[in-house]
Amino acid sequence: MNKDMKEELKIRTVKGPDGLEFEVEPLRDYYCEAAPTVQTGAYTAIVEKLFNWARAESIWILGFGTGCGAIEMRPLMSPRFDAYRYGVQGRPTPRQANLFIISGYLSVKTLKRVIRSYEQMQNPKYVIGLGSCTINGGMYFDSYNTIKRLDDYLPVDLYITGCMPRPEALLAGVIELKSLIRAGKGEGANLYAKNFEWYKANQKRVIHDWDMPDYNW
C-alpha cells in the first residue's frame, strides 16, 4: 500500500514558518485505533424505552445527497411536506447526525466517501436506502461503476422503493423507521460492529484505491 499512496498521505518532515521542523503522518493522526464495538442497552428496560423514544423523536439527517434522490430531499424540508414537525432536520456534519439516507445509486468513488462519513457518525445510527438502485441495482444493473446491493457494504435498516419516490413516500419511510426504533429494532450500528470483518472484506473487494486506515472515527 505504501508505494502507490498519494504524495500527501506519506510520512514527511515539514518545516514550519517559524523554522521548527516536525514530522507529519497523515494516516495516523486524528484517527482512532480501535474497531467499533457493540453498544449494549441501558440497565433497565424502562430507561431503554425512554432512550428509544428520544432517539425516534429527533432524527437528524446527514446532508449528503449521494445520487438522484437528493432532489426530493429539498421539498421534504420545505413547508409543504414539512418533515420538521416530525423532529427531522438536516445537519451538515456527520458528528451531529444520526440518519444517513443513501439517496439513489452509489458509484464506487462515492461509496468510499459514504463509508468514511458513516463511520464518523456516532452510535446509534441508522441507514435508509432510498430508491430501487440500493435494492437490486435498479436501472443501472449492467453498469460497471454502480453497486447493486447496498447491504453488502453498509447495514441498512429500511428500504424505500420507487424511482423516484415522492416526498410523501419518504415521510412514510421515516415514520416506519420511528416505529422500528421505538420497538428497539434500530440495531444497524451494532450489526456493523458485530460483522465488521465481513463488511470490510466486501468493501475492499470493490474499492480498489483503498488509501485510508481501516476505520476512522
Binding site: E8, R12, V14, K15, G16, P17, L62, G63, F64, G65, T66, G67, C68, A70, I71, E72, R74, P75, M77, S78, P79, R80, P92, P94, Y105, S107, K109, T110, R113, S117, M139, Y140, D142, S143, Y144, N145, T146, C163, M164, R166
Partner: protein, 390 residues
Amino acid sequence: MYQPDRSQYPQKRVDGTLDIDLKSGKYLKLWQGPQHPGVTGNMSIELTVCGDEVVDAKTHVGYLHRGFEKLMERRTFMQVFPIVCRVCVPEPDFNEYCYAAAVEELAGIEIPESARWIRTLILEMGRINSYLMYLGGQAGAFGQGVIGQWTTYVRDLMLDRFEELTGARIYHMFILPGGVRGHLPEGFSGRMEETLREIESVMDDVEKVMFQNAVFKKRSIGVSVIDPALLDSYGITGPNARAAGVARDVRTEQPYLVYPELELEAVIGHDSDIFTRAEVRRRDLLMSIDLVRQILAKMPLEGAVMTKLPNVLHWKIPRGETFIRGECSRGEYGYYVVTDGSGYPRRVNVRGPSYTHSIALFERLIINANISDVAGTLVSLHTYPPEVER
C-alpha cells in the same frame, strides 16, 4: 495609498506560474469535498490555501459516473429513452428532447405540429424549475436560507403541473422519438395560469429580499468576473456568457421547435459578476413565464401527437452521425449520436454546458479569491455535476 504586504504570498515565476512549495508549511490543502453544503451536487474541489486566499484549485468529478454512454450502446433506440432523462437530474427534459430529435433526424421522421408545441411547453416549464432551484442555491450560498424555502415551494407547484401532464414529478419520460405521449388534460391552462401568478408573486418577494439586500450585493458585486474575451476559448455559453454582454442564445440564433413563432429576445447584462448573472437568470425566468403564456394561447388543441413508427423492437437506422443542440437553463446542451445500421446506437455523447464551466473555467476564476467566495462562485456558474461525468 495602502499597499498590502504580499511578501508571504506565493510569488510569480518568470513564466507566469506561481511558486508553490508544499513542503514549506505555508500552504494548506483543503478539500471542499462531496459532503459539503457549499457544493452543488456531488463534486469536490481541492484547494491550496495560503492564509485566506486560494492559490491553486483542482476539481474532482466522477462521483456520479454510471457509464451512461456505455449503457446506451446496449439498449435499442426505444429502450434508451427511459434512462436518458437521468443524465441530468434537476432538468431532465432536455436530454429527452435532444436524443429524440437526433434519432428523428437520422431516421428521417417528421413529428406532428401538436407535438412540437407540447415539447416546447415542457422545455420551458423545465427551465422555470431549474432557475427557481438556482435562485434558492445562490441565496443559500450567501446565507439567506429563506429564499430556498420560497422557491422550493413554487417549484413544487410547477411539479404538480408536470405530474398532471406527464404522470411523474421528476423523471417524465414524455418526449420520445416520434412525438410526445399524450395531450394536455382538461383545464390545464387555467391551473397553469394560477401557478404562474403564484410564481410571479414569489419572484417579487425574492427581488426585494435578495436583490436589494445589502449583504448579498456586497458579497456578489465585483466578485469572480468573467472576461468577455475568454468566451470562445473556454466554451462559455448560456447566462454566464450573456451576463458578459454577448447575446448568445440558441433560441434566437438557431431557433428550433416552435421558437420562430414566439416573441423572445436574449436577456443580457453588462458587468459579468455574480450579481449580474443572478439578475440575468431572474429576468430570463420572467421571460420564460411569458413564453409559457404565449404557448398556451397559440397552441393547437387537436391533432395527433405521435407519428406512426415502424416496429420499434426491430427498428434499424442507417449509418450516419449528427449533432443536435438546444438552449437549456445553464447553456448550450448538445447530443452527438452515431448510428451504424444495426438496431443499437453506436455512440451517444452528451455534451453538457457544465463540462467546460465547472472544470476549466472554475479553476481559473477562483485563483486569488477568498475561501468564502468559492461556494458562491460555484453556484453562480450553475453547474450540475451529473452531466459532467454522466
